[in-house]
Amino acid sequence: MPKPAALLPLLLVCLQSVGQAQSPADEDWFELNIRPILAGTCLNCHAEDGEAGLRADSREALIEGGQSGPAIVPGEPDKSLLIRAILHTGEPKMPPDERLDDESITAFVAWVKAGAPWPDHEPPLGAETASPLAHWAFQPVERIAPPADTSGWSDHPIDRFIMAALADQDLAPLRPADKRTLIRRATFDLIGLPPTRDEVAAFLADESPAAFDQVVERLLASPHYGERWGRHWMDVVRYADTAGDNADYPVPEARLYRDYIIDSFNADKPYDQFVQEQLAGDILAGSTPDGEGPPESYAERVVATGFVALSRRYATAPFELWHLSIEDTIETTGRAFLGLTLRCARCHDHKFDPVTIDDYYALYGFFASTQYPYAGSEELMSKGFPRSHFVPLTAPEQARPAIESHQAAVRALEDQIAQLEKQEPVDRPKVDALKAELRILRRPGLPAGVSGAYAVTEGQPHDVPLQVRGEPRDAGPVVPRGVPGFLSKGEKLEIPSGASGRLQLARWLTRPDHPLTARVMVNRVWQHHFGKGIVATPSNFGVRGAPPTHPELLDWLAAAFVDGGWHVKDLHRLIMSSKTYQLGGGDDEAAAARDPDNRLYWRYDRRRLEAEAIRDAMLAAAGNLDLARPGEHPFPPIESWSWTQHSPFKAVYESNHRGVYLMTQRIQRHPFLALFDGPDTNYSTDVRTQATVPLQALYMMNNPFVTRQAEGFARRLLAESADAAGRIDLACQTAWGRPARPAEIERGLQYIDQYAAELARQGTAADQIEPAAWTSYARILLTSNEFVYLD
C-alpha cells in the first residue's frame, strides 16, 4: 500500500473543530481554540519572567502586557498587539519561527473581539498542568458515611444520599410504585423478560415484607439474568460475530466469549476476576510459566481473552492497518474498565485528560507483545493465509499431539506438491487437486478434534516506539510498557521478562484502591437500573465527561462494591431494596419545573425497552420464545469460505432464541437491532440511543415477524379462554402485566365485533374471521406504548 497511514490524523477532531452552537464568547471556544495555543506555544517563552516582560498565562497578564504595552485590548483586535504579532505583518512576529495557521488566527481575532473571555474558575495557565490531575475521578474513592435519615423516609443508605440531595432542593420523592409496576420493572431489569401471569399473581398474594426481596432473589438466580446483564457488557466490549475486515469474515468461535460473559454474570464472578480474565485469562489459565490456574478453569480463562481478540480488523490482508486494531483494543480497554477515552492520545497528548502520547504507546506495548488470532480475510483465497492463532481450549501438552500430527499432515502434503511441481511435465490436475486439499486442511486453523477459541496468547514481548502523530512509519523514542503516569503516580509495573505485561496491567486495574475501575462499574449497574448513570457518560469519567449527580453516593457504592468482594449481584440487591428504586413514575408539576430531567430522583423514569427486550417480549407473549441457549450459528462450513471485499459475508439468521444470541456482524448491522437502536458493533457502546422513527412504526405495523407473534398471541388467547371478555383480560395481563379495566374490555369487544363485521363484509371465510380479528387485536397490544415502555 502506498500510504497506509496517510489517512491520519484520523478524524480525531479533538481540537480544531468549532461547535455549531459555539460563539467566541463560549468557554468551549477558549478551550478548543485559544488555550491549546497559549499553553502549547506562547507559554514556552511568555510564562513567569516571560520574554519582553510579557506573561501569557492569564487574561489579566495579557491586558497588562509587557515592555511593548498591552498584548490585548478586549473587544478590539485591531488595537491588540498579540493579533498583530500572530498575523506576522510587522514586528514582532509571534510565534517567531512559524506563523499559526489561518484558522487559529481567525479564532484569536474572534476571541479578542468577543472581549477575550477567560473561564474564570480556571487557575492561571501556568498552573494548568496540575488542574486535570485534580479532576474528581482521578482522586481515591472517598470513604463516606451516608447522611443521617432526618426525614424518616428511609434508612437505606442509598435513600439517605438521595433524600439529602432532594431535601437540599426542597424536593420530595413521589409515592412508591404499585406492586404490578414493580414486578414488571424488576423482571425486565434483571432478566430482560416480562413477568408471567403466575409470577405477578404470586407477588400480589405475598403480603410479607420480604416479598419483593424474594422476587429479586428469584430473578438473580435465574439463568436468564446473565443473558440480560451479559448483553449490557457485550455493548461495552463491542461484541460481534465477525471480524470487521473488508469481507467481514465470520468468527464462529466468538460465541464462546459471549457465553463466557453470560456465565460469568450468572455465577456472580467477582468483577476484579472478570476484568483480569478478559485481559489476561490466557496467562492466568496456566499456559505460561507465570500461570497458576486450576485445570477446570483453563478453557474459560482462555475464552475470556476474546475481549482482546475481538478487536476490530481492517482492510484485506492479515493484520493490515494493525495499529488501528490495537487502537481499538486500547480504546475499548480504556472505555470499558477505566471510563477513559484514550485514542485521542494516539496522535498527540490528550487535549483534556492528562493522558499523554507516551501513555498511549506504553499501553500499546502490552498488546504489541500479544499474539492475536486471525479469522481469515480475502487474502485467504488469493494468497493462501489460513485462519491462525486460534487458541486450543485444553492445555498445550494435551493439545500438542493432535496439533503436531496435523502440522505433519500439512507438511507432507506440501512436500508432495513440491515434489510433483519439480517433475517435467508437471501433472497440473493432480497438483491442483492436492493444493485444494491442502487449503481445506489448513483453513480451520486448528485440526479437527481440537476446539479453539478466538482468543489471545503471549507474543514476543517488546516495548514499542512512539508513532509520531499516530503515523506508524514515523517512529519516535521507544516507550517502556506501563500504565498512564497520572494514575500510577509514577509507580512502575514489574513485568517479568518474557511476559507481555497484560497480567500486570489487569492486576493494576483491579487494585482495590484504583480510583476508576470500581466507580465505573457501579455506575454501569446503576445506569441499567435507572436508565441513566450517576455519571451520565458511563465510559467517559474524564475531564470532559459528565460530573456525577451524586458523587458521594457513587463513592459509597464503589467502596461497598470493593469491600464486599466485587459482587455485582450484591449491587443489584442493594439498589433494588432502596425506596429510590421502588419509586413510582408519576408526574409532579412543581418537581418537574425544578428538576425536569429528574437528576435528583424524585420519581422513577419511564423508559423504552431495548431492542432485544422488545423482541423477546413479543416472542414470549406469542409463546414462541425458545429460552434454551442455541448452539453454533449456522455459518456455512469453514472449508467453503471464499468471501472477498467484492462479495463480503452477509447473513441474517432467523431465530426464536433470545435476542442476545442473534448473530451480529460488524460491517452489516443486524436489521432489527439497527432499527431499534441496538449497539454499534464497531465501537464500545455505553449508552444506547432511544430514537423514535417512522421506520420502527412501519416494522411494528407490517413486518412479518410481528405478524407471526401477533398470530401466536391470538392463538393462545383463543385456546385459553372461550369468552371474548376473558380473552381481552388475558391479553392485557400477558402483554402489560395488569388486568383489563372495564372500559378497555368494552372497547376491546366493540373493536373485535367491528373488525369481524368488516372482514365478513369483505367476504372473508367464516372460519378465518375470528383468528384474523384477534390477531389484529393482539398486534395492537404488542405494538402499543404500554408494551414497549417500562414504568
Binding site: 500500500m1 477532531v13 455549531q20 481492517y314 477515552t341 471485499q645 465501537y683 372497547r747 404500554e786
Partner: protein
C-alpha cells in the same frame, strides 16, 4: 425522552399535495413545512448562509471509474503507450507499461468540454457539467475509499454526508425520510455508507431497493385499507388512554406520531413508484422501458420524483461490490457500466432543468478513486488514489468547465488538488453550510464531516 412536540403531519401532507397540484411549483408548499413541523429534528433548518442548492442528488459509481478514459484525456499517454514508468501500485512498485485509452475523446457543448465516447449523452449536456480532475483520496482500497467518499473517514465508520446534511438542514417532507438511497446492490462497506453512526437516528439513510418492494415493511398485512385504518384508530385509542395517565411525557405522543408518519409513507410511497402518469417522452428520455424497476434509469426517474416531493438528499448507487467499474482485466468493461448510467444521468439533468429544479438541486457524480495510467493484466487498470475525476452539476456550480490539472499521464496532480474533504466542504457550502461549523459532540469531542481539513473550491462556484 423524545424532544419533539406533537404536530399534525397529516395536515401538512394535505397542504403540501394540494399546493403542489395547484401551484405547479413545489417550493411555496415546501416552505410551509418549516412552520408545519417546527421543533421536529427533521424540520427544515436555516442554513448558515443563503444556500445555492436546497437539495442534493449524490450519484456514486461503484468500483472506481477511470479518469483517463472518461473526462481527463491524456495525449501523452497515447504517445507513450507501452513505456514503463515505475510507480507505486496497490502493494508494490509496479513495472507495468503505460496503457493508452482505448476510447476516443471529443469536445462537446459550447464550452468544448472533453468527454470520451463512453458518455455520448452526458456529452450532450457538457455545458452543465463541472469536471473536477484533481480529486485525491487517502487509500486505494474499495472499502476504505467508498467509506471516505461518503463519510470523510477511510477507516472508522462515521456518519455519511447525507446524514450530516439531514442533521444540518432537516427536510421538506415529513412523510418521507430526509435521506434516501437507491441501491439495488450493496456497495463496498455496505450500509455503513449511509449510516447515521453517532448522529441521531432520524438522519439515517433509508435504502430503497429497486424492484417490486423498494421500501421494507410498506405493505400492511391487513386485508384492506379499511381494516388497517380500524386497527390504527384502535391503536391510537389504546395509546391515548395509556398516555392520559402519564401526562408530561412527550416520548409517548411522539411514538404515536411516528405511526401516523409511517401511515403517511404507506399512502404516499406507492404513488411515488407509480410511473403511469409520466409521459412516454419522459420515459423514453431516461431510456426506461415499461415495467422496468431495476435499471439505473428507474433510479434516476424515482430520484427526480422524490426530489420533487421534498426529500433533502438522494443517493443513487449504480452497482454493488461486484461487477462494477473495477476494470482490472480490460478497460472495455467500462462500456457496459457507462451505458448503464450515461443516458439516465443526462436525462435526469435535462428533466430537472426543464422543471426549474436544477437551479435548486446540486447533482454530484463521484466514485471511489481513479485508475492507473499503466496497465493491469495487459488491458485493464489498477486502483489509483493520487488523482481522479468527480463531477458536480446544477445549482451554484459553473457548467462546462474542467477544474484542476493532472500531469501528462494523469498519474499525479499538477495543479489545484481537491481532496475528498474539499469536495465535501464544497458540497456543504453549496447547500449553505460552513463545513467547519457543522459539528456534533460525541464521546466528549466535536466531530465533523471534514475532520480537521477541507477547503471550499470557490473557483468552481458561480
Amino acid at each position: 425522552m423524545a424532544k419533539c412536540t406533537a404536530f399534525d403531519r397529516r395536515d401538512f401532507l394535505k397542504h403540501a399535495t394540494c399546493l403542489t397540484a395547484a401551484c405547479g411549483g413545489l417550493y411555496p408548499s415546501l416552505a410551509l413545512a418549516a412552520q408545519a413541523y417546527e421543533g421536529h429534528p427533521l424540520a427544515p433548518k436555516r442554513a448558515h448562509f443563503e444556500p445555492k442548492a436546497r437539495q442534493m442528488i449524490f450519484i456514486f459509481l461503484t468500483g472506481g471509474f477511470s479518469h483517463v478514459d472518461t473526462f481527463d484525456p491524456k495525449p501523452k499517454l497515447a504517445a507513450d503507450h507501452g513505456k514503463v514508468v515505475p510507480a507505486e501500485s496497490l502493494r508494490e512498485v509496479t513495472r507495468e507499461p503505460l496503457l493508452a485509452s482505448p476510447f476516443q475523446f471529443g469536445r462537446h457543448g459550447q464550452s468544448g468540454l472533453p468527454i470520451s465516447e463512453l458518455f455520448p449523452h452526458l456529452a450532450g449536456v457538457a455545458d452543465e457539467l463541472c469536471v473536477i480532475r484533481t480529486l485525491h483520496t487517502d487509500i486505494l482500497e474499495h472499502f476504505q475509499a467508498t467509506l471516505a467518499m461518503h463519510t470523510g473517514s477511510s477507516t472508522v465508520p462515521m456518519p455519511s454526508i447525507g446524514c450530516w446534511l439531514s442533521y444540518g438542514l432537516g427536510t421538506f417532507n415529513a412523510n418521507l425520510p430526509s435521506y434516501m438511497v437507491l441501491a439495488e446492490h450493496l456497495p463496498y462497506a455496505g450500509a455503513q455508507v449511509w449510516d447515521n453512526n453517532f448522529l441521531p437516528p432520524y438522519h439515517q439513510g433509508v435504502r430503497l431497493v429497486p424492484g417490486n418492494r423498494p421500501i421494507q415493511d410498506l405493505a400492511s398485512p391487513a386485508l384492506s385499507v379499511t381494516l388497517a385504518d380500524l386497527e390504527q384508530i384502535m391503536l391510537r385509542d389504546v395509546n391515548e388512554l395509556h398516555a392520559r395517565a402519564r401526562a408530561g411525557d412527550l416520548s409517548l405522543p411522539a411514538r404515536m406520531d411516528s405511526f401516523d408518519v409511517a401511515r403517511g409513507m404507506m399512502r404516499e410511497a406507492p404513488e411515488i413508484f407509480d410511473l403511469s402518469r409520466e409521459t412516454a417522452s419522459t420515459l423514453e428520455s431516461y431510456g426506461l422501458a415499461g415495467g422496468d424497476s431495476t435499471s439505473f434509469a428507474w433510479q434516476c426517474l424515482i430520484a427526480r420524483r422524490l426530489s420533487e416531493r421534498g426529500v433533502r438528499v438522494l443517493e443513487l448507487i449504480d452497482t454493488g461490490s461486484h461487477d462494477n467499474w473495477d476494470a482490472h482485466g480490460d478497460m472495455q468493461q467500462h462500456r457496459a457500466k457507462a451505458a448503464r448510467v450515461d443516458k439516465a444521468i443526462a436525462a435526469l439533468l435535462v428533466d430537472l432543468k426543464r422543471r426549474g429544479l436544477l437551479d435548486q438541486t446540486l447533482v454530484a457524480i463521484c466514485t471511489e478513486f481513479g485508475r492507473t495510467p499503466w496497465s493491469d493484466n495487459g488491458k485493464g487498470r489498477n486502483h489509483w488514489a493520487n488523482a481522479f475525476t468527480c463531477l458536480l452539476a446544477g445549482a451554484g456550480v459553473k457548467g462546462g468547465i474542467a477544474y484542476g490539472q493532472t500531469d501528462d499521464y494523469g498519474a499525479n496532480i499538477a495543479a489545484d488538488p481537491v481532496h475528498v474533504h474539499d469536495y465535501h466542504a464544497t458540497i456543504l457550502h453549496l447547500l449553505g453550510i460552513d463545513h467547519k461549523q457543522l459539528t456534533y459532540r460525541y464521546a466528549g469531542r466535536d466531530f465533523r464531516l471534514t475532520d480537521v481539513a477541507g477547503r471550499v473550491v470557490h473557483e468552481i462556484l458561480t
